[in-house]
Structures are given as C-alpha cells and as structure tokens.
C-alpha cells in the first residue's frame, strides 16, 4: 500500500486577527504570521499513517509519501510530517503567488503518475485561501473515484476498496471507492476510531487529533529523504486559471447586548433579530 499525501505551508490561521488585506484588495498579506502546516493536511497525514499501521506498529512494506508545492522553507513543514511517521517527502519549489488550486491539482496529477500511489489523501481545503478545489480537480484530471470531506475511512481487508463516511445534512453518507482513489478529509477524521484498516484491532483507540512527534522521531526525520525540484520540472503548464478579483476583510463585529431574562431574549429575537 502506498499513500500520497499533499501538504501546504500556510500562515498560522490561529492568528486570524493579524491577517491583513493589501491596499486595493489585491491580495491577502500574511507577513509576520508564523507559517505552519495547513491543519487539514496534518489530518491527512494522520489518516494516511493510521491506514498503514497495526495499532502502534507500522505494516512492513507500506509507505506514506508527502508532497508539497511552495517555497524552499516548506521543507521544514514536510519534515514535520516525516517526524510524525511519513517515509519521504517531495518538494516542488515555486512561490505561493504562482500557484492556484487548478495548477496544484494538475501538478499533483503528474506526481501521481510518477509515484503510482494506491490512494491520495488531501486536506479538504487550505485554511488560508479556503478554496477547496484540489482534491476534486485532481480526481477529475486522473479520472479516479473520489470522496471529499471524509469523516471516516475504512480500508477493506483486501486493500482494494475504501469506504468513506461523509457528514451531510441529516446524517452520514457512506461511499465505497475502488482504489486507486482520491480522498479529502475533514476535522472528524482524527477522532479516536475514525480510521480503520482491518489490521489494527477494533479495540485499539488512537488519541484524538494528529499525533505528537516525539523527539526520537524528530531526530530520525532529519535522515529521511526530501527530494526537491522546481515545479517546472513536472512539465505542467504553469499558467494560472483562477483569477482573484478582490479581497476585503469582513465587517468588524458589533458588540452584543445583554438580555435581562428569557422573556427579554424572546422579545429581542422577535423584534431586533427577527429570528422568530
């Protein structure tokens, strides 16, 4: 089993109050924000690792490869996923402004052709642009089955199919995909028992959230390979198709009001908020 995970270096979204819009609304300015791995991509790495493990031990022969597109510094972020347990990294260098969801998907398709993974796992979206495009365009480009916003993944014992749970209004839809396939993951995928592979015993529970990389793994990650090449080396058309016409910050929130009691609350909901 070989799994490819894509990973984006993004500005720390927890620092949303420091995100600024450039004058004229041309772009989002993230200067001074700490770069980190897009959280959804971290969940994708965690998902991939759980699929290639028997509880706490790795299944021999299975591999997880992490690919990223971006500045050279993104190697640091790839190394973080190697410290979590991924086996190797691929970095295709370019600057962030020269990328859009379409190009990343097409570039990733080239990586898939070369790497021949059985499964590609992505975060559902990057928390900077929130575009939510890459998994869908990638699956379309490859002509592979796909399931987005996975909240659970079950790999069949014969490793030929995955059953993906997707949260929708009023319940959970289960889709069974024949491998190779593309999956994008949502927050709940890192729940204790969200990922199953018919190898890890059913009683085994992971800790909620992406795993911590202990120091020995951090040290070991330094010796794992990260192959670096310019994006152009993939032979994709690097023209951008997505054009952003403008950005603006949401209006500042007004202060709330304090209500006296439940009767007052109901009254306010009816008259001021017109919610009832």
């Amino acid at each position: 089993m070989k799994i490819l995970v894509s990973l984006k270096r993004t500005a720390d979204p927890d620092n949303a109050n420091k995100v600024k819009v450039a004058p004229g609304g041309a772009k989002i300015v993230t200067d001074g924000l700490e770069p980190k791995v897009n959280p959804f991509d971290e969940y994708a790495v965690e998902t991939a690792l759980r699929l290639v493990e028997n509880g706490k031990t790795r299944i021999a022969g299975d591999t997880v490869v992490v690919a990223s597109f971006g500045p050279k510094e993104a190697a640091t972020n790839i190394r973080q996923s190697l410290a979590m347990g991924a086996d190797s990294g691929l970095l295709f260098t370019t600057d962030d402004d020269s990328l859009d969801g379409d190009l990343v998907a097409r570039a990733l398709a080239k990586v898939v052709e070369a790497q021949k993974p059985d499964l590609v796992i992505l975060g559902k979206q990057a928390v900077d642009g929130d575009s939510n495009q890459v998994a869908q365009v990638l699956a379309e480009t490859l002509g592979w089955p796909s399931a987005t916003f996975a909240m659970s993944v079950n790999l069949s014992a014969d490793k030929k199919t995955v059953t993906v749970g997707r949260e929708v209004d009023g319940g959970v839809v289960k889709l069974t995909l024949t491998l190779p396939a593309v999956i994008s993951v949502d927050l709940r995928i890192v729940g204790a028992k969200a990922v199953t592979n018919n190898v890890t015993p059913a009683a085994f529970a992971y800790n909620d959230g992406p795993r911590f990389a202990p120091l020995p793994m951090i040290i070991k990650a330094k010796t794992k390979p990260i192959a670096e090449a310019p994006l152009a080396s993939l032979g994709v058309d690097t023209g951008l198709k997505v054009r952003y016409t403008g950005f603006e910050l949401p209006a500042a929130r007004k202060a709330g009001i304090k209500v006296k009691d439940v009767a007052d609350l109901v009254e306010r909901l009816r008259t001021d908020a017109k919610a009832l």
């Binding site: 911590f212 120091l215 040290i219």
Partner: protein
Amino acid sequence: MQSYLFETEEHSALRAQVRRFAAREIAPHANEWEEAEEFPRDLYARAAEAGVLGVGYPESYGGGGGDLSHVVVACEEMILAGRSVGTCVGLGSHGIAIPPILRVGTEAQRQRFAAPVIRGEKISALAITEPGGGSDVANLRTRAERDGDHYVINGSKTFITSGVRADLVTVAVRTGGPGHGGLSLIVVERGTEGFSVGRKLKKMGWWASDTAELVFENCRVPAANLIGDENAGFIAIVMNFAIERVFLAAQCVAIATLAYQESIAYARERQAFGKSLTGFQVVRHKLAEMATRIAAARALTGEVVTRCLRDGDGPALAGLAAMAKNTATDACSFVCDEAVQVHGGYGYMREYLVERLYRDARLYPIGGGTREIMNEIVCKTEGY
C-alpha cells in the same frame, strides 16, 4: 528573539510539538488547577505519551533522547503555551529527582526507579532541604543508620516539590560523620513504613505544584535503594544542583517572556487619555527594558547550555550556572513586576495571568539555592 542561539530546526520542531501539547492539555485548565493547588495525576501519563515528559532522558529508559538544550526549549514551551508555571514545575519534578539515579545508580536501580517515572507511571521528588536548613546542605541532619540489609531513617524534609503525591523520593541522608563526607542518597518509596507526608504546604506561588513536608520515623529502607556509594552523596547532589540551576534559569526566561508578551498585548489594547498605552513613550520604554533584560538572561542561560554540551557538566559549569540563575532570576522578577505595573489595577487581580506570574517569580531567588548561595559559588569558582 524568542529562541536560543543554539537552536536548530530540530529544536523548533520540538517546540511545535510541546506547544501543541501544552496549549491543549494545560492552558485550558491553568487557572482551575492553580486555584485547586493540584493538577490531575493522569497528566503525567499524557505528557509521557505525547513524548513531552521524557525529553532529555535516554530512550533505553523510556525517554525521548536529546540533551540539555532540548529540555530547555521544551520547558520554555510548556510555560509559554501551558500558562501555568505550577503545573509545569510539578510535572517536571523528575528533572531533579531522576538524574542522580541515572548518573550514579546501578542499571537495576535505573530500570526500577527511573524508567517508570520517565514513562509517566510514577511521580518522583528530590528531598534535600530540611526544616533546620536548606542552604547548608553539607550539614543536613536526617540520619540513616545501617541495620543489616536496611537503613533506618529518622528525620524530616521540607519544601519538597511533588512530595505530597510522590511514589518515590530521592532523599539526602547522613550515613556517616559530620560534613559533606557523610552524606548519601537513597530512594524511599511511598508506602514504606515510617515514611509519611507531614503536610501539604500553602505557598505564595507555584500553586498547582504541591509542596510537602516529609517525615521519616524509624523508616526501614532496603540497602539496595542506596544510590551510589555510601557517603559519596554530596558530589552527586552538587552536580545535580548545577543542572537544576540551568533549568531554573530557563524557567525564569520563559516566565519573563510570557509576562512580557502579556504586557505588549495589554498595552496595545488598553486605552488611557485617548490613546493606547503603547502610545506613551514611558510605557514603550518599560517594554523595551523588559525585552532587554530577557535578551540578556536568555543569552547567558543559552551560553551555559552550550558550554555544558561542549565541555560537559563538570565543576567549571557550577559558577556560570549560578551566574545564569541569578541573572535570569533578577530579569524575571523585574519583568513580572513591570508587567503588573503595565496592567495597572488589573495586574493586581487574580484573573490576570501577570498577577500569578509575579507571585511565581518570587520563588526563583530562593529555590534551588538562594541568590546569596549562588554568589558564594561564584566566589569559590572565581577563587576569592
């Protein structure tokens, strides 16, 4: 700069992990645990599982490997992201209790006493200070008399961090004659007859960390628990102190950094006379002075770490470690005091973090050897 000169990408990766752990497992409960004067016991297991507890300990005993530099940055992130100094120092009491066992203990003792602590299964404490005196270590009075395969211990210890809940305590005892040549270290396990917790002490700061008075009354401990040779304990104690002082200096740098960050945020937000506090040069200069003292303390603390890694933690380190402790302690006290000042009346209120940090900071010129004793050590190593 909120990092040490010695740091590599490995350190920043470790920082990121520890930060995530502390932000998730400690920060949301920081106030509650400080007010309750206790944190949940299972935090040890969770910290071990996340690879935080074992930083700096050999993998063969369940640790995470790494050296002093890793311990220092992990400790800093625990404080910055955890926002509860008491919890961090309580959780970290093995940092002084376990090294003597690893340094001079036998392989069997390391596996039996150190490994379960590093794995987060047991709590450990170091007991040196006595009600009758802490600075004058060479004259401590708790006696351990040999009786067949046992030592019979009589005496008491006080101000012992994590002593209330400790499963095992590395105790300094007098096995021989007067002075430093008569001291030994011995591990006393919870439940040993004659060993009890006198009381849990109420403190100015470090609330979430319990501090105990320990009593030994005809407490019979197997001779196999003696750590190192009989009457050779003093040197192990002194070496341990030197490293403890580096930890304490690093804690001071971290606490000061946290108080400084809180102050900047508050000064930006708070309005007076129609502008934010940062609009006043007096306030900006206060912040600048805080930043400068922290930078100086960080530089010296970092230098001790670097020298220790380069030259080993021999006696040459003791003087510099003492200087670093005093420098970092003073920076921390100064910064926390100014942080309260910048916060005005809110800085005096229990709901503001700087109020707590101010109280926590007061421990550092006392614990792990007082400021005056640090100067005595500097005098000795300087040769006058």
